[in-house]
């Protein structure tokens, strides 16, 4: 059952086709859109589950749409890194359920827009699944465009005062970075004559000059750094992720930002096997940028009062962890970094969902206004506390193992300084999350009516608590994803004799 060949194209096309049909389905009444989207996401989840079972049992496999063997047609390659489809589908499904009540509550948004909200969300998830699964360079760019365009529109969806301005800034930087990616794909195509990643990697070493390959590597890295909001090019993220509706912030911070990381992993796969450029220099730059991101993101988060802005800055800090893990490129650090992609998505989605519940019920966004909400909304506050604990990386929760692996990787790579920078960053994060938990439970409420506020509705509370529970479960069962990603990390480092 799980090795039925056509699960792979089905997993990509179901969300895209579902998105195209959402306006058709909701012609009569717009409430149909959310149930239609849930159905589409359930079918996609089944397909994704089958794919992950197959890769767990048989290792990487590929599918050839149109029947042309690799360099002559597009190859969809599903390897361990593509298993992040699981977190895309999981958080996607929960975000659609969460949006049921949330989009009705958005005041300024006219109601005819809501079917297009679900259409864009499905396009975003379909684009991410396509990006993660494809083994062809230009196909990567097309799916990158689908998910980027839908992200820009979803950021501008809430129609708040500066939502359009934040979305326009995000669009401009995103468009330039997609252009850099396209330019470097063209250069790689010019050098090797083919667009298939594995084929490009083998033929790149026989290219006559190195300069274009180095230029392509530089542009690809900068392009994906902008998508991942790494330190120097992160300025679009705080506004975009805090203005967006909460389910969208969860999808953006948890998943869309990780696409930049997965793009970088694909580049590493190509350039490591090609071996035409010494990656040591690039690794060093990435480790330094990662370290600066960690400290800078955490530092700015301390001074934010708006809860969603604080979470947005903490995303930048966690991206720094992952990139540092990749940059150190030792066995432990790459495993830690790749699994942190998965765990951070769960944690950040829990935090944004819980923050959304608070804003949904109280209408306040800043910590000073939200004081004392822990007593009237106990379940949501428990979820935020679990999220806070796991993002800091305290042992039983999901965040601990990956950060521990990255620190081990830092020591393994004889660069203890970065291990300490990592722990120092974790200290910063500890401070601002404790400030948040303290505001909820122990400080006197500034608005007395906050104590009478009801708990969040079931359709919003279930995703939050489910993900919070998953953070704990992933902490205890942390071994499984680490062992799962192990062969992929071996393959990534094998050409370097890592």
């Amino acid at each position: 059952m799980y090795d039925w060949a056509h699960w792979l194209p089905l997993a990509i096309l179901t969300p895209l086709l579902g998105a195209v049909l959402t306006p058709v389905v909701s012609l009569r009444s717009r409430h149909v859109a959310v149930w239609w989207s849930l159905g589409v996401m359930t079918v996609t989840s089944v397909a994704a589950a089958m794919l992950i079972i197959r890769v767990a049992l048989e290792g990487p496999f590929s599918y050839l749409p149109g029947g042309w063997e690799p360099p002559y047609g597009i190859e969809l390659r599903f390897d361990e890194f593509s298993a992040s489809v699981s977190v895309i589908v999981l958080i996607g499904w929960l975000a659609v359920l969460y949006s049921l009540r949330y989009t009705e509550w958005l005041r300024e948004v006219p109601k005819q827009r809501i079917p297009y909200y679900y259409s864009l969300l499905l396009l975003n998830l379909g684009g991410m699944i396509g990006f993660v699964v494809t083994g062809d360079l230009f196909n990567l760019f097309v799916f990158l465009e689908i998910l980027s365009l839908s992200s820009y529109a979803l950021v501008a969806f809430s129609g708040e005062h500066i939502a359009e301005m934040a979305a326009f800034k995000y669009l401009l930087m995103g468009a330039i970075s997609s252009l850099l990616v396209l330019f470097s794909i063209a250069i790689l195509f010019g050098l090797t004559g083919s667009l298939n990643m594995a084929d490009v990697a083998t033929r790149l070493s026989s290219a006559e000059s190195v300069a274009p390959a180095a230029l392509a590597l530089g542009m690809l890295t900068v392009g994906f750094m902008v998508k991942a909001a790494l330190f120097p090019v992160h300025i679009w993220l705080p506004d975009a992720h805090s203005i967006a509706p909460s389910p969208i912030s969860a999808v953006l911070s948890g998943l869309v930002v990780k696409i930049g990381i997965l793009g970088m992993i694909r580049i590493y796969q190509i350039y490591n096997t090609a071996g035409v450029i010494d990656m040591h220099w690039l690794n060093h730059v990435l480790v330094w940028l990662g370290a600066i991101s960690i400290v800078m993101g955490a530092f700015f988060a301390i001074f934010q009062d708006d809860i969603k802005l604080m979470l947005a800055y903490s995303t930048i800090s966690n991206i720094g962890y992952i990139v540092m893990g990749l940059g150190l490129s030792t066995n432990f650090s790459i495993i830690g970094g790749s699994v942190h992609v998965f765990n951070h998505a769960l944690i950040k989605a829990t935090l944004f969902f819980a923050a959304g519940c608070l804003i949904y019920r109280t209408g306040y966004r800043t910590l000073t206004d939200l004081r004392g909400v822990g007593h009237s909304m106990p379940l949501t506050s428990i979820a935020i506390s679990i999220g806070a604990i796991s993002i800091v990386g305290i042992p039983p929760t999901a965040g601990f193992l990956c950060k521990w692996y990255i620190t081990l990787g830092a020591f393994e790579a004889e660069q203890p300084f970065f291990g300490f920078a990592l722990i120092f960053g974790a200290l910063f994060i500890f401070i601002y999350y404790i400030r948040m938990v303290n505001a909820f439970y122990f400080q006197a409420p500034t608005h007395p009516e906050i104590l009478e506020v009801k708990e969040a509705p079931a359709s919003m509370l279930f995703p939050t608590l489910f993900l919070a529970g998953l953070c704990l479960v992933m902490g205890i069962l942390g071994r499984i994803p680490l062992a799962f990603i192990e062969p992929a990390a071996q393959r990534l480092l094998a050409p370097l004799g890592g």
Partner: protein, 237 residues
């Protein structure tokens, strides 16, 4: 000062670009890796294997069909995004500063010429769509021409007359026509050749021709409807 800083930054980005681009394989030389590897086979066996004389259409629909399916989804994303941002806020009375924004009175010459040319433009775009796999052209080009014509007619005849072409109940179907055609042909291809979007080019040449035609018409219709709807939405706001 700012201009000098910007100019310096540009020179800084231009230098690596020029160095990288200069040492690319020389422009236009036939035995560069570009021409000898994948595209050599496309040119030699493209017509029999993929069933289209115009190799570019063969590459778009057959060899790299998933790219164009993604491409059609990008257009639909642009439509959904533009509508999600623009729907629902009636435009305030036009009070632009400076040049009065009231549209210049439409000269009778323009409206007569557009109405005279309209049927010929439709004929040309239908030709471009249907002959995509033999002569240069195809779904996107035909769709853009039709969309452009729709926009010209809306300006000349006014929105009321042309909105008839995009009925409220029918419009979402037309806008989604492109990806629907792709998936339908893809599923048919799976049935015939065992691979999604596979064409039985060698065995049933006519069936392949028909399948490509369905996709071209779907893209043409879908593209035209999407461009028209975006224009109407931006104009109406």
């Amino acid at each position: 000062m700012k201009k000098a800083l910007v100019a310096a930054l540009l020179v800084l980005t231009a230098i690596p670009l020029l160095i990288g681009v200069a040492s690319m394989p020389p422009h236009g030389d036939p035995d560069a890796p570009m021409h000898t590897h994948v595209s050599a086979r496309y040119i030699e066996q493209g017509e029999e294997e993929a069933g289209a004389a115009n190799i570019v259409t063969a590459v778009i629909l057959n060899y790299r069909g998933l790219d164009t399916a993604g491409e059609v989804t990008v257009i639909f994303t642009a439509l959904a995004a533009a509508l999600a941002v623009l729907i629902g806020f009636p435009a305030p009375p036009k009070d632009n500063d400076g040049v009065p924004a009231a549209p210049a009175p439409l000269s009778p010459v323009v409206s007569f010429v557009v109405r005279l040319l309209a049927p010929f433009i439709v004929l040309f775009s239908v030709y471009v769509i249907l002959n995509g796999h033999v002569t240069p052209g195809g779904g996107f080009q035909g769709g853009a021409i039709l969309g452009g014509l729709f926009i010209a007619l809306t300006i000349v005849l006014g929105e009321g007359r042309t909105r008839v072409l995009l009925p409220r109940r029918g419009a979402p179907w037309m806008q989604g026509a492109a990806l629907l055609a792709f998936v339908a042909v893809g599923i048919l291809g799976t049935a015939l050749t065992g691979y999604f979007l596979g064409y039985p080019a060698e065995s049933q040449h006519l069936v392949t021709e028909l399948m490509m035609l369905v996709i071209e018409v779907g893209i043409g219709l879908g593209g035209a409807a999407i461009f028209a709807t975006i224009f109407l939405q931006m104009e109406e706001e």
